[in-house]
Structures are given as C-alpha cells and as structure tokens.
Symmetry: C2
Subunit: 591 residues, 2 copies
C-alpha cells in the first residue's frame, strides 16, 4: 500500500522563501509567520498521514453504495470526516462571523494540497462544500447566509454543485431543469442532474444542493438560467431540519476512479428551491463557484502527482534491479537500486520538477486571489483570472501524465491494484475532465481571457517575466534559468501575436492552437516560478541556511525543469503556427 508524508518543508519554502508571506501587504498575511504556518501544516499533515491516507485504497476498493435511497460511504470515511470537521479545517479561510478562522485562501490551498494528496475522493466532500459556501457568501441573501453558512462551515451540512444534465455539459444553454415560482417566493425545481460529486452520503445531516435551472421569462440559452439552493432536508425557521425535500439519488455512477466519492444522478421532482442572487443571473453566480473550483481541480492534478511521485521515489530507492553502467553502487547487494538508472531518474525528475513547480505556481495563484479579494487589486484579479484555466488545464494534464510515469517506475507492479499506483492515475484522470474539460479551459484562455481588459492581464504577466529577468541578469548563478525563461516567454508572445494576426480573419486559426497555447503558457509559468525559486534558494544559501542540501536540490531540480521541460514550448509554438488548415481539412464524411 502506498504511504504519504506531507511535504510541509517544501510548502514552507514556497510560503516563506518564495512568497515571503509574512512580509506581504495583503491583509491577514502579517500573521503568517513561519512558526504559525508550520504549526498549521504539521497539524494537517498529522491528520492526512494518520487518518486520511490509510483510507485512500479502502475507498477505491469499496466505493460508495446506494441502498434503499441511502448512500453509504466506504468503511472509515465517516470517522475520518468527523476528524476533519472537528479540526475545523473547512472553515480555515472563511470569515469568523460564519464560524471560520478567516485565514487567507492561500493557507486553505496549502492545507488543501495535503488533504487531496492523502485522499482525493474523501477530500471532495469538503471541497464541494467549500465551493458552495463561496457561492452563497458572494451571492446569497443575509438570511440565506445566516441559515446555511454556519452549518456548512462546520460541515454538519455539506454542499454540491448541480450543472450537468444527460444531454448537456459544457453547453449549459441547453439545460432543461425547470424552476416554477411559488406564491411564497420559493421555486419548484424539476429535472435530472448527472455527475453530481458528493451528491449524497452518510457523513452529514443535510446536503445543500446548488442547482442551475430555468425559470420562466429569462429567454433562450444561458440567459434564462438561475441558481437555486435546494436542501436535501428543508430547514425550519429555528434552524432545525424539517421535511425531506423532493430530491433523490437516481444512481451512483461506476467510474474509472475516485470511487470513494459518490458521483450521483440527482432527480429533482418538484423540490423546493430558493433563488440565490438575481433571477436569470445564475451563470454569474455559478462562475464564482467554478473559478474557485477550477483552481482546486488544478491543485488536485499536481497533488495526485505529488503523492504518486513520493511513492515512486521510495520504490526506486528500494527495488534492486540491474547495475549502474558507470559503476556498481551497491556492491554488497544482488543489484543496484532502480534510482541509479538514467531513465528511471528521468521519470522521477520529471515528476519532482513538475510537482514542485506546480506547487509554487498554485500557491502564487492563491496569493493573487487573496490580493484581489482582500485588497480589491484589479491587476491581481485580472492575472489570476487569466491564469485560472492554465492552472486547471495544464496542471491536470501534466499531473495525470506524472501519475502515469510514477506508475511506470513500478514496472509490472504499477499495473497491480494492490500496489496503489493505478489508483493515483485513475483518480487524477477525472481532473482533466470535470469543472470544464481541459479543451474548454483552453478555449476560455484563448477565446476570452487573452483579450480580456484589452489584454492588460497578459501584458502584466510578460512584465513580471521581463522585470525578473532584468533584475537578475547580473547573477551568473541564475543564467541557466533566465536564458530558457526568456526563450519560453518569447515563444508565448509569438504565439499570442499569431493569434492576433490570424484569429481575426479565421477564429479557428486561434482555436486550433488553444490547447497548445495553454501548455505553452503553463510551461512559461512554471519556468518563471522555477527561476524565482532558484533566486530564493540562492538567497537562502547566501544567508548560510543550515539545510544546504535542500536548497541545492531545489536549484538542481529547477535546472532540470529548465533544461528538459521548457523546450516543449518550441513544439507547442510550431503546432500553433500550423493553424487550422490541416486540422479542419476533412469534411465530416471523410473521417
């Protein structure tokens, strides 16, 4: 069975060496001293390592089951969820008035990585609840906040997001679930929703569904959509639970992975729903949940790669097979450990350099969210809005790829479920699909975000890169970082220019390169954070930090990323410049 040890040291490096959080001007960051964040991360690690990770394979093997309308989670999930609840983990970054601790979103993300690595399926019950809280916080009425938030923050009640229907996923304009206004101001919700993660379960008293439905008079397509709160049990005026609402689980889907999370078909049969925010403005409210959820899904991508890598590394150090061609390393043993072989190293260094880069990128993104939300910083808001599809799409594509590579390190054992490496790949696979499939992320990036606000956010990104290069070009130790970063950034700019020149005449010339652009952008972002981390590591070494090995490893890992991963930008650019012609050449009947 795989094991898990939380990367608290590396998270501390990101928070303090890289982001220098306690020196930041973002409200609430001053208290994030190293001792304080270490205490939080250590506590999260204890829970994750001791209670959540040991249930990961149990969840995969048992899955959830539906019996007489009741959803049962795998053995042990209930007790572990109770521990998450008791620790108050769900309220970490929620305002105090609703029972939270009001810490920055950044801290929620750092803890989130640890929980997701330990047990992604279990963590999703919390993650969906957190997303629903955010939507109610942003768009709910004061009464709704008072009624639902405290119980949801404590996770006595959990939350869900209901968008997809059998005939429509991405294209929500097609949705058919209807909302009929009632005299008391409530609505009757009728329709079927599918792929509802954490749709129902036996770990909370109530489930608060956030449901997209069409109320009369809103017009065609997405314009007619509104957002509703539909509780599993209606809530009485005094806050106690009342009658069972007209919502039920049709079935639990059999999936490739995340078996521990109940992915439900939800049937709404005239269920009572309460409008959230404005009528017919449901899409905007839903996007509040989605944007947060997308960053959370990007985090899932690299968090699964992180735990998979950790196990692959342990196996490569332990498993004796073959000899180092440059000279035996384990003369007393029958063979050398796998780690001596260059191609095994390649796989491990790919994983390590991706995971550490992705971690830094995601935490930087989380700090931008804090800056945007806590300071109303428009530039930070534009930048994170631009990078959200990159975090979601690039980190989940690569995260899955890295899980597959970690599995590969195990050879035949990687294919056997008992070793647990297949589960990481199978679980990570969903992250490329849900919350907007990665093709939709690429479309969002190229079709919407790139030109948003007159292109200011993307120019701001280039300014950060240029500024960093300019400030540090005299530092010879960073040359191996700055040269490839400059090249990657130039490839990204060239791609952007290509879209501007060709996309106007033929939008398909831009869309044909959207996925490659997302990957190109992702590499440029990881190149940037690696250069920044290299600088931070040099600074720590200059300052005589005691753990030289850690900082030197950081530099070496970064050099690997720049040398071996960043050259992908050339390939992506070449693909982008080939445009839509060969891609769209075939008529449908020629396929």
């Amino acid at each position: 069975m795989p094991s898990y040890t939380a990367p608290t040291k590396d998270l501390q490096f990101v928070l303090h060496d890289l982001l220098k959080v306690s020196q930041s001007d973002i409200p609430g960051y001053a208290e994030l001293e190293a001792d304080f964040t270490a205490a939080i991360l250590e506590e999260a690690a204890k829970l994750a390592e001791g209670a959540l990770a040991p249930l990961n394979m149990v969840g995969d093997q048992q899955g959830c089951r539906l019996e007489n309308g009741v959803v049962y989670t795998p053995d042990g999930f209930k007790a572990a969820f109770e521990q998450i609840r008791e620790g108050g983990w769900n309220g970490l970054d929620i305002p105090e008035e609703f029972g939270g601790q009001n810490l920055p979103y950044l801290m929620g993300s750092a803890v989130g990585e640890i929980f997701v690595s330990a047990n992604m399926a279990l963590n999703m019950y919390q993650g969906l609840t957190h997303g629903a809280i955010s939507a109610i916080l942003a768009h709910g009425s004061d009464a709704q906040k008072a009624t639902y938030l405290p119980k949801m923050v404590s996770m006595d009640w959990t939350g869900t997001m209901n968008l997809t229907e059998p005939h429509c996923g991405t294209d929500l304009g097609l949705l058919r679930t209807k909302a009929e206004p009632q005299d008391d101001g409530s609505f009757r919700i009728t329709g079927q929703k599918i792929f509802i993660s954490a749709g129902d379960h036996d770990m909370a008293e109530n489930v608060i569904h956030l449901v997209l439905a069409k109320a009369p008079g809103g017009g065609e397509g997405t314009k007619g959509i509104s957002l509703f709160i539909v509780p599993k049990f209606l809530v009485n005026e005094d806050g106690t639970l009342g009658a069972r609402n007209g919502v039920s689980v049709g079935k639990i889907e059999e999936k490739m992975g995340i078996h521990g999370n109940a992915t439900c078909v939800m049937n709404y049969d005239g269920a009572t729903g309460y409008l959230v925010g404005e009528l017919h403005k449901g899409m905007r409210a839903m996007f509040t949940m989605m944007n947060e959820a997308r960053i959370g899904v990007g985090l899932q991508g690299y968090a699964q790669a992180a735990v998979a890598y950790e196990n692959a590394l342990a196996y490569a150090k332990d498993r004796l097979q073959g000899r180092d061609v440059t000279g035996t390393k384990n003369p007393d043993g029958p063979a050398d450990p796998l780690l001596v072989h260059p191609d095994v190293r390649r796989m491990l260094m790919d994983q390590k350099s991706f995971v550490e880069g992705a971690r830094a990128f995601t935490m930087w993104g989380a700090s931008l969210i804090d800056r945007a939300h806590r300071m109303g910083d428009k530039q930070a808001d534009g930048l994170i809005s631009l990078m959200t599809p990159v975090i979601k799409g690039f980190l989940t594509d690569k995260g899955f790829e890295m899980c597959v590579q970690a599995q590969q390190v195990y050879g035949g054992h990687g294919y056997i479920e008992e070793w647990g490496m297949s589960q990481f790949a199978r679980d990570a696979r969903i992250a490329m699909i849900y919350e907007g499939a990665n093709g939709v992320q690429a479309l969002d990036l190229v079709g919407r975000k790139l030109a948003a606000d007159g292109g200011k956010p993307v120019m701001a990104f280039f300014e950060i890169v240029k500024g960093f290069i300019r400030e540090n070009e005299s530092d010879a130790r960073l040359e191996g970082f700055l040269v490839p970063l400059k090249a990657a950034s130039k490839d990204l700019q060239t791609a952007g220019m290509y879209f501007m020149e060709h996309g106007m005449k033929n939008p398909n010339d831009a869309l044909a390169g959207s996925s490659d652009f997302m990957h190109l952008f992702g590499h440029a972002c990881l190149g940037l954070v690696w250069a920044q981390m290299a600088k931070a590591a040099c600074a720590a070494l200059d300052a005589g930090a005691p753990d030289r090995d850690f900082y030197e490893a950081k530099l070496a890992t970064g050099r690997y990323y720049m040398a071996r991963q960043l050259p992908a930008t050339v390939m992506h650019l070449a693909r982008i410049r080939s445009g839509a012609e060969s891609m769209m050449a075939l008529a449908p009947e020629q396929f």
Copy 2:
C-alpha cells in the same frame, strides 16, 4: 457500449497501395492479391465485430476468477475462443506441417490488429500461444515440435511465457527458479513466477508453460538460465494427456485493466520440465519469443487507440454541444455536433493520424520480418531488430495517450465505465509495461541496437529516408511531407551524433536521452511512412481511383501529422542534448 468496425479498407490500402505486397519478391507474397487479402480480413472482421468485441466489456466487468485451483474466464469467452479455434486463425502464419496455413507473418499482423482492437484481453490467450509456438519452432527438438506444435497451433493447448519473479523483472540474472536434472533427461522445476498472462483458464485442454529457470553449472547471472517446457498436464507418448504436473495457480492479480485475461502467480513445485534448445542458453531462446511479442505489444498499443478513436469519432459526430464559431452547422438542431470544434478536431486528428501511421509502420515492420525469415535478408533483419523497440515503446506510449484523448472527447461520460472508454485506456496501459517496460526498450535501442553491426541498420534507415526524398523531391504535392521529414531525419541524426560524441566519455549522457531518442525515432518512422502513404495516395488519385474521398482524406491526415506531430522531434532533440548532468545531479539523499 462501444462498437467496433474493422478498418479493412485502410488495411487493404497499407497492404496494396503502400506495400504493394503481391508484387513483392518475398516468398509467399505473390498470392496476396487484393481479393484474397480482402477475403481474409473480411472474415476476421466478421468474427471480431460479431463475437469478440461484444465480449470486451463483459471481460472487463467480470474478470477471471480462481475457484478451487481452477481459473474461470468471463461469460462467453469460451465460446468465442472456440470460434477463433475453429476458424484456424492461430495457424494463419504457421508452417503447414504443424497444421498452419503458412501465410506471411504480415497477414497474421493484419488480422492481429483486428482481433486486438475487438478484445485485447481475449486475444492475449492466442497471442501468448503464438509466441510459445515460435519459440518451440525455433529452438525445440523435432520430437518436441511433433508433440506440442499441432495441438498448440489448433489451440487445443495454449501457451505462456514465464520470466518474471517477485524480486526480478528486467534483471533476469537474479532469478531463482531452479531446474534439477533427472535421470530420464527431464528436469524438476521449482520456484514462483508472477505476472503470467493467460497463466491458466478454462478454454483449452492443456497449457504449455515456457519457463526460464537455472540449472546447475551455468554460472552467475543470465548465463545460467535455461528454457523449459512445463505442461500443465504431462503428455503421454501417444499424445494423450497424462498426470497433472506440479504447477498451480497461486492467485489471479487484480489489475488496472485487461481483466478478461488471467494474470497469474504460478507456483512450480518440482514440476516436470523439458529443456528447450541448449542448456544455459535459455535467454537466446526466450528472445525469439520476446522479439515477436514486442512487435505484438506495439500493435496492441495502436490497436487500442484505433478502436478508441473509432468510438470517439462516432461520439463527436453524434453529440450536440455548442456552436461552430465560424457559423452554425446544424441550424435545425439545438446545437452543433462536437466535431465542429477545433479542439475536438485536434484530438480526433491526433488519434487518426497516429493510428493510420502506426498501422503502416507496424505492417512495414511485419513485412521486414517476412523478408528476414523467408529470404534470410540480413539487412531486413538488422532493420527490424533496430525498429522493434521503437514499435514496442513508441506505439504503446502514444497508443495509451491516444486512448486517453479518445476518452477526453466524451467529456464526463468518458470517465463512466458504462461508456467503455475508460477500459480502452486501462487496457492499453499495460502495453507500456510488459514485454520489457518502455524504458527498457529505449535502453535496448540506444545501448544495443543503435551500434549493432557497426551501425549498419541505422544507416540503412537513413538511406531509405534520403532515397525517398531524393526520388520524390520534384513532386510538388509531396513538399509538405518531404520538408518536415527531412528536418525530423536531421534531428534524429544529430541526436545519434550527440550519443557518439558524449556516450563514450559518459554512458549516462546517452542513456539520459534514450526515451526521447525512441520517441524521436518513432516520429521519424511515422513521418517516413506518412510520406510514403501520401505518394501512394497521389498515385491512386492519378490513376483515377473511384474513391477519391478516401485518398484525399489520407493526404489531409498525413499533412496533419507532418504539421502537428513531427515538430515534437525538436523538443526531443533539445532534451537529448541537455545530457545527463541535470538528470543525475541529485545525490539519492537529496531527493
């Protein structure tokens, strides 16, 4: 549930337009007229579509079970296997004296693709048998051939390969299974083998295990290894079955995929075994099986991608979601089909251009095997020996990637087992691991094959590329093929030069680039066959072939591969040239 329609037309194109088989000087090829091969392929298609494909998901869901020492295959497997047996499919390319039809290996491969696409797990029972037949044909005594081959060709008896043990896979020198010589010339085999595909089942009277074991006096490591026939039931002098031998199934592994194939732990408890070939020369004999098996596994890689693509295409034509940004294509429907969206096209064209290229590459490889075996052609033998790790490693890495992409086309439905797309990815995943994990293929390619015979095979490959470019550079229609092919070939040569210059001083500088070299080589091979197919398509169009759509689609698909896939060679070359330094920089304790 997915469907399957065999690509007989495209296989015919490869056999006749591209390889021009009936005009070949290879013995046995003259009879491969278009009508004859079409009849064979149509017959195989009928069986695959009607009997094998419908059982693919059944096999995945039920798996195999071990009860009281007996292995049971999924419902329907036995009857379908009987149909394969009755059709004489296993003997297609086996000499007539042992009950076969003596057709070229090429035809076995073409039929093989169809069977593997339809039901990979079921096909493996036949595939392993075929491999065991090849080993006995090449190394067995006349008596052994007479005793075992007819029954194995008819598949009344099936075969297995037993290499791996719990503590050793790639490093067979460590194996512990021992063979003790007996007075009657037989051996007593004792030990445990794991990951034995088709290790036991209820579809044949007997199972003939080919087992690697160490007999006394052979020295250390792989030198001491010999190959033995160990039948499940001993065979009497008259050919009837005798006593049960001392071999049993310890357990069936729970795997990520290919559930319909019983992957067994095999326990040998003093089982009677018969030496195949020379004592202590077992590795050589095993490689006869392995080389054929490796090409078969490469075929599995693209065959799974082929069926996954076929279903993804059908879904993309059927599923209505969103509108074509360049203008509505389905004004009467609620939305346009997925196929109109460039990023969906990208995924489908990636798959289509890979699958068709891989098919041509594999069939070219199969024809080289026929040339080598039937004509003793040393150059063909050298070339296929060089390309075997590329066929195995590149086609399975990419094949899996394409299955994942096909799954992605389905959005959320791709993750739900009921739709069957997860199974293609999970089944294809094993092909990257077994018969030598892909890292081992890369090592074989760079560490052994590249320098084999003074580098003659690789020079022969470059001559083929150069010759083709020279002969066709006046044809303007091929310009879009020849220019990228030339560039890819140059990248491959540059990589080879890098290895020569640096690998002598530091072998790790070559090994660090081995996987990238395998991929670079794979792209160059697919670039070559695409250029050749483009020429063949032009010729057919010039000759006024009636089905112009087919040939024009072939040209368009090829142009896509050249424009969008071949640029990967630049990235692989850059990685190769970064050498081993950053890859090997970390000390084990720094990870």
